[in-house]
Amino acid sequence: MGVTVLQQFPIETRTGPSTIELLSKRISALGAVQQGQFLVDCETYTSTPALGHQRTVHVLHNSEQPATVFSILETGQKTIPLATDGLFDLLMMKMSGFYTSKKQTKAESKGPRYEIGDFCVKLGTVTVSQNFKGILVEVEYRPSVVPALCWELMREFLQGFLGSSVPATPPAYLQNRMQELYTPMDTIHQYLEQFTIFRKSPGLRP
């Protein structure tokens, strides 16, 4: 478990699969070896009117932590994270009278997972309710858990295969937490932010 940076990669005039292929070639040329596939998904539930003011629960899964369910509750004033065992999904079914999911918002990022030295790279094809939305690149630097200590190194690595699409500053979510210990929940927060942006964006051709 290390520090993870998640960013969108512009597909420009390419298609989704050809963008993944392009990035796969680049990262393989650097010496990365594919180690399976990954999947991060997100289902969003909103409270029924009977519960009073509206609250939203985002339930996410990450294949990197397969036994854990991550939930983020948004009340409007507060954001509360929760990590539980897999059976939390069963509990959400019990809550169906209180919290209902909007099926058309189910978001997913999945694709190949590479390892290269101390880094783990994931090239994700993002879909929102089966519609292709874009590409998310996740890079994890595993030896460190303090973002401030490894951001510069990670930026250099990212630029090495993503080129100029890498911003000079860390993602907004990390900027406020540069000196804190990074946890898997922070990766989940970054995915949720990106999924929220993709949900609002118009669809793209695959």
Partner: protein
């Protein structure tokens, strides 16, 4: 390389194969304080963890309820949160316990649905903001024994004293006795375990009488 299935797919597969332990078989009883040592001695002899001795616990439990009134009438979802006061770094426990089924006289134990999971300590704030309210809370201190798949707990229940007193010291016991529970978590349909429990409960008589307790007869509990 095959892509990983979604977590929901694996959960549905697990549900279909009936491998999720979501049923609790339960018998309850009590023993007066002055006889608890005799019972503990008997349990030490009967149970598996002979060498290591019984495992002690000191837990704080909060009982939350999520309520709402929909067109279909009132809905109630009870949720219990437990944390170990003696192991502050341990994960917290979140548990849904459904309506208990007493069944007919031939069924040896109470059966109730149960979803039990470890969780992070943000659970209290999470449930509160989700809309749940605390109905009651208590502290349970005692011993846990194992016999095969069966779990036996002997616990003293304390009222929550001063809330500021997080360590759980100086709290007041609610009675002059210990609560004794014999339970197994298993996938549904494994009724044979109930028979094992009945036989084990027989071996504890007359020290403690483990029975199917009908809560409806005890007053208005949710």
């Amino acid at each position: 390389m095959t892509s990983p299935g979604t977590a929901i797919d694996s959960l549905n597969a697990a549900l279909k194969c009936n491998i999720i332990p979501n049923q609790e078989y339960l018998l309850q009883g009590s023993v007066l304080d002055q006889y608890v040592e005799v019972l503990l001695h008997r349990l030490r002899g009967l149970c598996d963890n002979v060498d290591s001795g019984p495992e002690s616990f000191h837990d704080h439990e909060l009982y939350f309820v999520l309520r709402a009134t929909n067109t279909g009438g009132p809905m109630v979802l009870p949720l219990r949160v437990r944390r170990a006061l003696d192991v502050p770094d341990a994960p917290w426990q979140l548990r849904y316990v459904g309506q208990q089924e007493l069944g007919d006289k031939n069924r040896p134990t109470v059966v109730r649905s149960s979803i039990d999971m470890a969780c992070s300590s943000t659970i209290v704030e999470f449930l509160t903001e989700l809309g749940c309210r605390v109905e009651f809370e208590y502290i349970a201190r005692g011993y846990m024994f194992r016999k095969g798949r069966m779990k036996i707990t002997v616990s003293k229940i304390f009222k929550m004293g001063n809330i500021a007193n997080k360590s759980g010291e100086g709290v007041e016991p609610i009675s002059q006795s210990y609560l004794v529970e014999l339970s197994v978590l298993a996938p549904s349909g494994q009724d044979a375990i109930a028979e094992d429990m009945r036989i084990f409960a027989e071996q504890l008589r007359p020290l403690v009488q483990l029975e199917k307790i009908d809560y409806k007869r005890l007053g208005n509990l949710p």
